[in-house]
Every structure is written in structure tokens, then in C-alpha cells.
Amino acid sequence: MERRNFLKISALTGVAATLDACHAPDKQLIRFVQEEDLVPGIATIKPSICTLCSAGCGLEVRVMQGDAEVIRNGQTGIIKMGLAKKLEGNPRSPVNQGKLCARGQAGLQVLYHPDRITHPIQRTGARGSGEFQQISWDDAIKEVSSHLSGLQTSKSMSGLSFLARPLRGQRRELIGKFLKAFGAPPAVWYEPFDEAVLRQANLLSFGHAALPTLNLGRADYVLSFGADFLGTWNSPVSQSIGYGAMRQGRAGRRAKFVQVESRMSQTGANADEWIACKPGTEGALALGIAHVILREKLAPNSAASRAGAQIAGWAAGLPKYTPQVVEKQTGISAAVITRLAHEIARSGAATAFAGGAPLAQTNGLFNALAVNALESLVDAGRETGSNSGPILSFAPDVPTSIAAKLETSQASLASLTALAKATPQMLLLYDANPIYFAPAATKIREAIAKIPYVVSFGSFIDETSAQADLILPEHAPLEQWLDGQPESGSTQAYISVAPPAVAPLHNTRPMTDVLLGLAHQLGGDFAKALPWTSFDAMLKAAYTALRTQDASMKTKTDDEFWTAVQKDGGWVGASPTAQARSAAATSKSASISASGIQSEPEFAGAAADFPFYFQPYVSQSLGDGSTANLPWMQELPDVLTTAMWSSWVEINQKTAAKLGIQQGDLVEIQSTQGSLRVPAVLSPGIAPDLIAMPTGQGHEDFGRFASKRGANPLAILALVTEGKTGSLAWAATRVKITRVGGPEQAKLVLFSGGLSGFPHEEESR
């Protein structure tokens, strides 16, 4: 053969032969025998429930076989197991009807997140040092048990506190029963953007202390006061489905949509007419519109019935709310107010509702009641036939034996500040991170530092779990039994139940089974209250009662029913039975309304020193901050500013020019409680005296994608509250702004153009 070929062949085979032994490390891991019976390459679809916001949409999980690195008995190896590949909406869920939002799609990254805690860990260094060591589940359970027993022995069971995000369904029941059997006070349910004001208003106006279900597909006119109903408010997927239908779902009919807010939200960007209203005066605007309708007899006074009765002066035709007076309060011209009144009263099917910043004021309850009264006046269900009925209604109750009870009396913030003052002996944390999600002024960080023993059920190290003494990591939502009773979004009675879609990846356990296990160990009263050894047994016991109450699933035995429910991902009531508003105006409700509801907004910080209103808003991608650790969400450009991987503050273009602030400059925002430094984004869609900032960034400690990035607007909020509910008035803080640097200090990343602030390689050459 030729020398050239000889050399080539010998080089190839020689190298291959000598280095054959060196391969990728992966090939040296052992393979565990597979435990699941899956055919490779073929997907199975499993139901589940999305837990990333409170809407409770149903999921379908596409599961396929794949290789996963796992640790079994301390040994790392590879196993073939079912892996979740894609999430879709569950077509059988009446809430989301097969659709899913951006955050919902990212649920997969919670399951497969690299920062998930993979086994129980116990603190070894000082609190907050990040020094933990791995311990076994047996030891971890013993630790918790012994602390609980300790409380029992010293008769200080009331020293046990449980802090969690609000839940509906059997997890809430389980926690409630556990605490009651233990003798501890009820759980503290905290979330930053709670809807206590809206629920209280709906109770007064409509007789239902619940979030509204909106059947927008029927509407001809939608007047929304501050509600980001297509993005982050209430049940966004359900509302988006209705929005599409109201626009182009009916031949020859297209609804008009008017949004009233001070900062253009993603929802507001879709409005036919966007009206900027002075913060806190939205209720006055609603009453101004109602005044015109009543004055010109475009709808009868009695149409508003109970809701109208909540407003002082309603029966007299709202003499204090003439368009001229309201113009001075709101900044919206009398001509526009009159025109809106004519439009809404004369359109076929109209609705009005409020959410977001208007309710997060000291007069938030007043604003909500005013809008509810307007809604009652116009949404009289003028259509007849099968499409009749109001657009705004309430989701049907599920049968009372299993209905989730929602305490409406106390707003989140009040519960949290009570906890901060109470100094409990032991704190259990479940899906709760108050150090991040509560304003610094609550002093919750200092309070937690004083609690002798803190246990977290979290999956991630975050600001609060970093202070824990023991972390019992949870299964991811897709790995465990879940149930939910969505508060809104469906006109049919609906309970979602789903078995685990995939086997657990790490050495974790669901909080529900851990609590049941502890109950089992503690014995006594617990045995009666919580006789089940696993959460699915508790779910089955709770929900099979539905079989006899509603025969829609046509099953003959409890077991058959339970199998059918699991397969569908839930139970849907036989026919739409949405709850109408209660027409009866009782004298009792009248007396609640008449007294002491503040009608004018108040703000923290004197206008002279703090000339700008500050409006934090829930981020489309990061939510209130709970999905900030998901890379898909960090990289999702904000749809209005295109910003990603960043924090920013939106400032009116003309205001910025006056202050000498340019796009991407670093600015300092200061309130009476503290200050933040963030890049500025100039926007035409925001009032000149208001600045807005998305929530979600500013985590000190939340994994590799979210830590030390941007700033958290919640941190500088003053503890101003709505008078009646005690709910945090998160839109009632005033701030001042100063330019402190240029784009190179600000680190703003924009998807389209303007790569301001980032040094490029070319620039450094």
C-alpha cells in the first residue's frame, strides 16, 4: 500500500486503540434496573395541576422514558425512568380548557432545577452562613419529632407556628387538622399580593367572599379598573380564553375594551381605549360614570340592588360624584366620563371590575365597592336565552362536605405581622419566603432570627430557608399527589386531583406525607384527626363522597370513581351552575358599609419630599418573585420593555427628560423605608408622576439564576394598609428618584436594541 495510506491507517487505529479506554465519565456510572414499564420513544400523557399561581389550571404532562442520574443508597448511577418533557393545559379542566400560560410552561424547570435540594440537610454553621450537612430522613424526622414532643412536654403547644402560601383543598385541611390536633394556633397564610380587599368587597356587594369568575366571551363592553386580567390577575388563562372570544369569537360582534390604570400593563396594551387615572381615584371615576347613568336614567337605580346599597348616596343618585367634581379628583375630563357612561350603558352586555393597584390603596375597599356598584348597574344580563346571565359571577361551591374553607376575615399582612410579634418557639415553613415577599418594615427577618427552631419544607435555598435549622426538601409538584379547588375561572363546580406524573428524582418527600408520618408518630389525638398514612388515602377519603352527590362520571363504585377522577385530573360538576350575585340587600350588610370606609387615598411619604407614586407590579415572567429562579423566565423578554435578566423602573419619557435621566441610566428610588438602585426604562405608557417597577428580582439567595440580580420593590414599601381589611396597600408608597449613574453601571439587558450597560469585548479592545 502507499505510504500515505499506511500512515493514515496506522495513525487512526493506533490512536483509537491506545486511547480506547478513556471515555466520558458518564459511561463509568452504574445503571440501576428500571422500575417503570415504559416503552422508549412513546409518550404517555398524565394529568397534573399547575401550582405556579393561585388560578389552579389543569395540566397534561407528556412523559417519556429517558436516562436520569440519580443517587440510590449513596451511590450515583443512571436509571431509565419516565421524564416530564412538556406541559400543556388539560382540555378537561373548565378553568384553562387545554391552554397554558408562559409561567405554567416553565413548571418543568422547577422539577429539573439544578438548585433543588436533593436530600434533608441540617444547619451546621451560624444561621444564614449557608453551612449545612446532609442527614438521613430517619434522623431528620427524629429531630422534628423530638422538638414537637418537647413543646408538648412543656405544655407550650401554642408555640408552634406554620407559615405557608394560601392553599385551597386537602393540603389546607391537613395542615389545619394537624395544628388543631397539636394544640397550635391556626396556620398563617401569607402572600404579598393577597386579594383580601376584593373578597371583602365582593362579600358586601354580591354576597360572595371570593374572586370573581368572568365570562368575557359574552361581553360587548369591558371596563377594567387596573386589573391585569390577561397577565397576572385572578385567573389569567381563563380570562384570556374569554378575551379571544369576545374579540373575534362571534360573527359580527366585537367587544370594546377600556382599561383604566396609571401604568400601561400588558393587559392595558390590548385596550381599545386606555385611560390614565390618578392613583386611588378609580372608585370616584366609577361613581362618576354611575352618576351619569343614573341621572340620565340609562339604567334603573334598583338594578344595582345590594351593591349600590353599599355606597353612601347611591339612592339619591350620587350627588357628590358629578362629572365635574370627578374630573378634578381623577384628572379625566367630564366629557370622557359622560361618554364612557353612555357607551357602557347602551352596549349589549357590559361588565366592570377592579383589581391590582386600585385595590392596593388605603381606600382600596371603597374603590372596589364603587366598581362593584357600577358593575351591578350595567351587567344586568340583558340577553335572553341560553347566553343570558351576568358576565361576572362566582364559581359554584363544591359540595359542602369537602368545600375548602377560605378565611376571609384576616388579610395576609395582618397575619404575618401578628406572627412577627408573637415570637413562636418553632416555625414550620411551607412554600413561604416572607423575608423576601414581605416589606422589610414588617421586621419578619428579625422575628425569625429570634425563633429557636425553624424547619423548612422547601425545595430551594431562599432568603428564608437559608435561616432554617433543618430543611426537609419536598417533592416537586409534578412528583406528588396534588389537589385544588380553584376559587375562580370556572362556571362549573370543579375539583382538581392528580397523582404524581413522574417518579421522584431526588431523595425528597412530600410535605403531606411527612406531616401524616409525624401525626402517626405523635399518636393520641392525631390518630383520630389524621388516620391516613399517605396523602392519597386522605384525598380518596375526602373526594369519593362526590360520587353519590353528582353522577356525571357514571361510575358504579368508589374505586371506579377514584380511578376516573385521577385519569381526568379532576371532577367537574354536571352542568354550569355559576353562582349569581345575591340580590337581596339585607340591613345587616347596609350597616357594615355605611361606617368608616375611607373614600380618599392616603400615601406614605409627604408629596413635597417624595414626589412620585410608586407602583410595584406583578411580573409577567417572574410572578411575585417565586419563579425568578427559572432560567426560561429570566430570559423571557418583558413584552412591553423587552427587558430580561434585569430589574428596571419605568419612568414617563417627559419626566425623565426633566430629571436628566436617559434610557438605561442607573437611578436610586427612595421611600420612607429605604432605597433601591435600578436601571431606568423610558416609557410613554405611564403617568408623569408615577414610576412602576416589576416584582421578582432582588433575591439575595435563590439559586444560581436569581441570586444577587436586580432589586426587590417589596422591600421598600411602607406598611400602609387598607383600613377595614388590614391588607397591605402596596400601591400607596411615595418615592423620590435621583440619577446616580450611567448605563455602564446599570446592567440593563434588552432583547431588542439598546444593549446599554454591558461592556462588550469589542469596546475593551
Binding site: 495513525a11 422508549p40 420513544g41 439544578p114
Partner: protein, 201 residues
Amino acid sequence: MNLRKGLLIGVGVAGVAVLAAFAFPTHAASSSATDEFVTRGIFTPAHPTAVDAFQDFFEVHPEHPAQPIAYTHKIHLLNGMQCVTCHVGVDQGPEAQIPNVTVCMTCHVAIDTDNSEIKKIAAYQARGEAIPWVRVYNYSDSAHVMFNHAPHIRAGVDCVQCHGDMTKQTTAERKVNLNMGYCVECHKQKQVSVDCATCHY
């Protein structure tokens, strides 16, 4: 020795040395702060070592790799088993499954239990380990081929056509050169689409 020969040998030696230096993993595992209790490592389509890259590029994969168990297709087929008995899923989806160790033990808990190879299988099962079979048939990742068994089986293509006569094989051997030309020839004969997107997407 003349200068050219010397240069060629020198370059060859240097090349081997360079490759040897890069035989180690090319990616450091991601290291974030203090955590030993979170997952580490990176998945990337880059070849993990230069050796893998080399083998992939020059298509140097052994045709008859040594398997952990000296399995004989010959014996099983001659005893009346079908391909699909063990390679489940080949008519339903893209992949032909290699059976789980529990499948083997279904029969071999009783059959031929004195055989040393059977004893090895039993030992794997006892340890809860899957048998680490070495892959014989594959496409290079960079070929981006989406091969799907099911339409071929349904169209009546015999396993023998691509995998050779297994009644003459012990452990699997790559007797047929499954390059693109082989696929395209058969597609043309059977008048099936040869559009690129049929297989490459």
C-alpha cells in the same frame, strides 16, 4: 531518513500527544458556592472528550463490541423466540427496546441456571443493576437523524434487512453498513419520500 519522513513522523507523534492531552473531559462540572447537596454537571452536545469527538468524526466504532454478558441471539431465535418478544415497541414507536434484566430472568430463573453467564445476569438483578449493554447501532449526534422504527415495521421491512441474519450472530454485530446511501436506495425502490425532512429535522 529524509526530512519529509521525519516531519511526518514528528507531526504524527505530536498529534497523538495533543490528543492524549485532550483525552480528559473537556468540561469542568459547574461549581456553585458551597453546595454539595445540589446537582452538578453540564449537559452539552459537545463531545465529552476528544476521543469521543475523534471516534465520531472518523466513524470509528467497533462493529462487534464486547458485551457484559455473552448473549447469543442464535440460540434464542432457534428456540422459537421472535425479535419483537424482547425488542418491544419496535412496531409502536421510534426505538426498539433492549429488554430489562427482569425480562431475561422471567425465563432464566428456571432455564439453564448453571450457566456462568446466566449467573451473571442473576447477580445483576440481585444487585438491582441493569445490564450495561454497549450500543451497536446508532447515528452520530451530528447527523441529526430522526429514525423511526414503527413505519418501517408496519411497511413490512424485515429486521434482517438492516440488522443482518441474527440466527448467525451471538451478540449483535453491525453486519450492514447503515449509511445514508443504504437508506436512500431502499426508499427509492419502495417509492417512499426522499425529502430531507423525512429523516433530518
